[in-house]
Amino acid sequence: MLMKSEKSTEAAAVTASTPILALDGITKTFPGVKALSEVSLSLFPGQVTALVGENGAGKSTVVKILTGIYQPTEGHIIVDGEATRFSTAQAAADAGITAIHQETVLFDELSVAENIFLGHAPRGRFGLMDWPEMVRKSRAILDEIGAEIDPSHKLRDLGIANKHLVAIARALSIDARVVIMDEPTAALSHKEIQELYELVEQLKTQGKAILFISHKFDEIFRIADNYTVFRDGQFVGEGRIAEVDNDALVKMMVGREVDNIFPTRTASPGETVLEVDGYEHPTEFADISFSLKKGEILGFYGLVGAGRSEFMQSLFGITKPAGGMVKIDGTAVSIHSPADAVGHGIVYVPEDRGKQGAITPMPIFQNITLPSLARTSRKGFIRLAEEFQLARSFTERLDLRAASLDTPVESLSGGNQQKVVIAKWLATQPKVIILDEPTKGIDIGSKAAVHEFMTELAAQGLAVIMVSSEIPEVLGMSDRIIVMREGRIVAEVDGDDMTPETLVRHAAGIATEAMEG
């Protein structure tokens, strides 16, 4: 398959002078914010164009304009050389544009086949659904992408990775000419990512234009032919990926040189603040014991599904543990709800920002003060001036970019939403902050800001727990790393033992097998 694709890339390069789809001078303004300012983007048949930029650079807005969800304020969308408008999402779909989103909209209660063909199901006599045809076609597409999924299963029964494959199958079923992949690898394992690469090669051979959005540079260099860089809603540059290197691309993205991604720090842990002993849950995790000191950053590494988030949410009072004890500053505490956890100084920045982290339709300042209302109010009565003051002091520390503190959180980019969630918890003056995949899906610039901020917090004596599946991040930030596998702690490493190999071996269970063997 790879050989085939190389041939086609050459073929494509010949006809590459005319893009299938282009954006020309697109500007998009929202009340108070200019999300895009005269940006351009060209997508060529049989080529992968990587769209890179920090959070808030305008990538999501571009995707929404390409898929007909937003209308550009100014500028043109050009399909096959002709200026056009996508007044509805359907119009964009009719033009052969399909998107696989960060959080693709699929329906849990429908079957795999229904999800794939929703909106364009094959029709039989009298315009009724042709169910056997739909299942047959679904099976063909799933086979084509090498997904072993039964089309008649309910989507609910699939794992997250297979759901992604269904989303990809859906994109293929539309017979799209332009496929937009927005962070497609975010939830995939290593093996699945390799399969996705093969799939992308296959789409290229079919002459489809692919817009690939990712924060992972190795992916971009592995798969893209061209790149386009946005910064703060503006077009910065474009070119052949073969003609740039990592540093040059980063420099374009952030507008400055990023020489060291992880801040250097000298850890000086103080007294023990948190002790967990024998925490267990009937199904998710068992026998979790560890301790955490002031000023320490403790990393939790493991594969997706190792029970790390489940344990953290239990520690935060969301799910009830079956047993175990928690001590804060040497005193046993009982935590039955998040309110209890916050009261004892334990706060949790969840992985799912939109659903768990923030109340996105509400204003920024109200999100930040929500757990701290007792401090900004008098006898239960709200004091707006104090709320704004508290919100302001933390948003300034985190360099939040927003039109105003009164705007809803949902209008912010992912990175800025994460800053709101972190600000919300810092305002409670916690003792222990748990960050669950704090930089997932956010760009290098915001990532560095979050990392730097974690360092600052630890230096101020806050105890930090960081759950992360990114090895460089875990190694770069942690003083000590706990590795979990299948709901149990399998290793605790620090100092010179903190190497990528140790983490991977423990997380995958290779180390123990080797010892037993």
Binding site: P31, G32, F316, I318, S337, P338, A339, A341, V342, G343, Y348, P350, K355, Q356, G357, A358, I359, T360, P361, M362, F365, Q366, N367, L370, P371, L373, A374, S377, G380, F381, I382, F388, R392, T395, E396, R397, L398, D399, L400, R401, A402, A403, S404, L405, D406, T407, K424, T428, A449, E452, F453, E456
Partner: protein
Amino acid sequence: MSTSSHFVPDRLQSPLARRLKSWETLLLIVAVAIFIANSFASPYFLNAWNLSDATFNFTEKAMIAFAMALLIISGEIDLSVASIIALASTAMGAAVQMGADTPTIVAIGLAVGLAAGAFNGFLVTGLGLPSIVVTIGTMSLFRGIAYIVLGDQAYRGYPESFAFFGQGYVWWVISFEFVLFAVLAVIYGIVLHKTNFGRAIFAIGNNPTGALFSGIRVARVKFILFLLTGLMAGVAAVCLTSRLGSTRPSIAFGWELEVVTMVVLGGVNILGGSGTIPGVVIAAFVMGLVTFGLGLLNVPGIVMSIVIGALLISVIALPRLWNMVRRP
């Protein structure tokens, strides 16, 4: 990172500017228009005593609507309120037969309301059942009990002093009920818009999971709201029973829909998350004025409900149509 290169203002729009563009302003214009239309349509309309009588059309329902507004903003609903009135009124009537005095009667009415609210609240927050199903069930249950107790009979013989709550006047044409309505409006307005509790209600209505993850005791807040709604149904039961002077099991039949209508007309999002008490207050006046005006014109009751229905749909549809016209 500690110094911001981008200044972020507190607000872009002053709260006053926002208010002028709001739903409440639209409703107020509707209310004034109806008032003017009524005064032209009937020579009896602009009479202090007639207007005072007109307030009884909405005061009792509005008392429940305040608590219902909070409950709906939090993402729940209570359709059993009219049946709680029936149950509370029946309990009060039974107490009268046993010779209870006025304070005891009132206490029983309020206690039954609270107990019914607690029962709803327990089923929803304790067992995690959907409130619309739970309260459709208790709607039949509570009124069913009243029917079993009373059959086709009625309780009468309420003490004379009990009549004050529904028939008494505090000053000139200002009735006790109207004063109670006004006081409750202020209290509920403050609770919803000026307290931490009110903020928690909005947070829960917008995203219950996010609210829980932010350390809000979601179940507790919702339980309190069911208690409050039950209590307000108890208060309304005292006022209505006092005004009518008797209890029949069909008392306040169908009120739950009028209360919900009032809340939605007042701009509260039926899906939760937004709404205001001033909006509900104006909606109460709008509904009261419409029914009173039509009553003066001798329009039959069934036509009134058609008018109220049409009013609700048009007032809800208007802003959406307006948005469609503005953003094609």
